[in-house]
Amino acid sequence: MKIASVLFFELAAGTLAIAGYLYSLPELAIASILLGGLTALGLLFLRPAFGHAVFILYGALTAVFGLFRMPPILCAGALAAALIGWDARRIAPQVSAASLGDRRRFAIVYSLRAVALAGIGVLLVAAAGTIRISLTFGSGLGFSFAVLVLAALFLRVLRRDRNSGEAKHGEDR
């Protein structure tokens, strides 16, 4: 999972660096490369908390790219890759006691799922430019209702996390 994490973070850094050079922003491209290098070293040798700091840095760098009117699809793609990298680094210690083969299979399955999800997000961003929704009373009400449902689900998840209790019985042989 650590390697998958580094790969995704590097993908994000690479995307931002290429975008920087393509859009004549060499300072930002160099900053991306530096961040990529720092990530590669830090993720492999430092504690998992380092991943949080790196993710925040990627968020900030992506925002700066966005401010310079970069295509949103590139920024969103890079941030999505950083998100997968961060998530993989966060999960790495949770699977560290398994065999190498199991960890490898898990990394592949988990990465594929995350990539699929991130892909949907990036596609949404790409489609955002073409979608026009007129804000009427009905659409506004629907949107508000959707937000309310999401908030309720969110609260439910939080409560469940707090009360996550014992699962199952067992017996000593």
């Binding site: 968020g59 992506t62 295509p71 949103p72 969103a76 006691a97 398994a98 997000g121 961003v125 067992g170």
Partner: protein
């Protein structure tokens, strides 16, 4: 709020806020994958799993340093789980030597999986307990985390050496035949003395040379051999022991106590154990294999303690021990007060065998090196002090095993015997 949700949510809110503030749609759009990720996390509500566990151990009682094979079987009695992580909670004192403690993969409905691994046990009572379960829904990224409790205990007894015979001479023995010289005439192997013949004496025991010389029937007497009450006192006060490289002198003391208990029990004696430190842990004297198990169980659990009540040896509850019996005190005896207490036990007519495990260490805990002359001088002073203390105790009748823990205990026991033999010869 869990970090898995908080951080992406915080970054996406920051992006949206920045975008709104600067009226920049690109920045707002960048937050979309993060928001989608958080939404999917929230919406993919994985159900609680229905997995039954069974843990099997090769053995529940081992000797420290031995390896234990552990197997964990998991049966899925509910729906299939696309991605499952099960981690067996191995006690910290058990070092993993082979295999893996975690299962990671798919577990179909009705399916069974198993993991097996090997651990090396340190001395103590170890409890396997918690099993951590993380189950991911078929398409979600958020795991449902739960814990199953499956208590399995394993007891690691102290490792000990088989000792050569140790001679003890308690002032009082029990009524049953055994290996301890009872200081009384009767049936035995060693010559004890002569007395006048009384009707009923075995004629084979008549000393004919004495008869020729004294013109009276004299019979030879042999020294009775009986079993004895042997009570082992293990000093578990933190102040008495010093930290060595990975262990403490207490670990060595525990092994010595185990070896002595096994040795005296094997000879048929009535052996008890008192661990003095945390509280008074007392194993009532007994004989045989079951008593050895009881003593080893207690020693497996023995820990150093720093209690003000038991700071001094003077509170050893001597009423537990039969009068004039044999006491074996396993203690480094750090100061004059300890020596005084040992002398007091001898004064109370107990026969005392002192086992003094020691190792000279620096204040920081590192073992001494011979290179530094100051260190060498300090070592000599400490050795002289120890010789003075222990020599004084030997002078008033204690048997002393001065044991530097980097040598085998068996060798130290032999040394006391050799010293005795020399004393007798002299």
């Amino acid at each position: 709020m869990p970090t898995s949700l908080f951080l992406p949510l915080a970054i996406s809110f920051a992006l949206v806020a920045t975008g709104l503030f600067l009226l920049n749609g690109s920045v707002i759009a960048t937050a979309v994958p993060l928001l989608l990720f958080v939404s999917v996390r929230i919406l993919s509500l994985p159900r609680s799993n229905n997995v039954r566990f069974e843990r099997s151990l090769d053995t529940h009682r081992v000797t420290e340093g031995d390896e234990i094979g552990v197997g964990l079987t998991m049966d899925n009695e509910g729906r299939g789980i696309a991605l499952l992580s099960i981690t067996d909670g191995t006690p910290a004192a058990l070092a993993l030597t082979d295999g893996y403690t975690q299962f990671l993969g798919r577990l179909p409905a009705g399916g069974t999986e198993a993991i097996s691994y090997t651990v090396r046990a340190e001395r103590g009572l170890h409890a396997f307990g918690e099993i951590r379960v993380r189950a991911w829904s078929p398409w979600g990224l958020a795991p449902h985390e739960s814990r199953a409790f499956l208590e399995t205990d394993v007891k690691a007894h102290p490792r000990f050496e088989k000792l050569d015979p140790i001679t003890i001479r308690p002032r009082r023995t029990r009524a049953f035949a055994g290996p301890v010289k009872a200081n009384r005439g009767g049936q035995g192997l060693d010559f004890f003395g002569c007395r006048a013949y009384t009707p009923g004496d075995d004629v084979r025991r008549i000393n004919w040379r004495a008869f020729a010389r004294l013109d009276a029937l004299i019979v030879n007497e042999y020294e009775l051999e009986r079993i004895a009450d042997v009570n082992i006192i293990l000093d578990a006060r933190a102040r008495s022991h010093s930290q060595l490289d990975r262990e403490t002198t207490f670990d060595h003391a525990v092994r010595a106590a185990a070896g002595l208990a096994a040795h005296f029990l094997e000879q048929g004696n009535n052996v008890g154990l008192l661990i003095y430190g945390d509280y008074v842990q007392w194993v009532f004297p007994g004989i045989g294999r079951s008593q050895e198990e009881r003593i080893l169980d207690e020693l497996a659990d023995a820990k150093l303690a720093d209690k003000a009540v038991f700071e001094e040896l003077r509170f050893i509850p001597t009423r537990f021990f039969p009068p004039r019996s044999q006491l074996v005190l396993v203690s480094p005896l750090v100061d004059e007060e300890d020596i005084e207490i040992a002398a007091l036990l001898i004064d109370r007519r107990y026969s005392v065998l002192l086992v003094c495990p020691h190792s000279v260490t620096l204040a920081g805990g590192a073992p001494l090196t011979e290179d530094d002359p100051a260190v060498d001088l300090a070592k000599q002073i400490l050795d002289l002090r120890r010789d003075l203390f222990l020599g004084g105790l030997a002078g008033i009748g204690a048997s002393v095993i001065d044991w530097r823990v980097d040598e085998p205990f068996r060798v130290a026991c032999q040394r006391i015997h050799h010293a005795r033999a020399r004393r007798y010869r002299a």
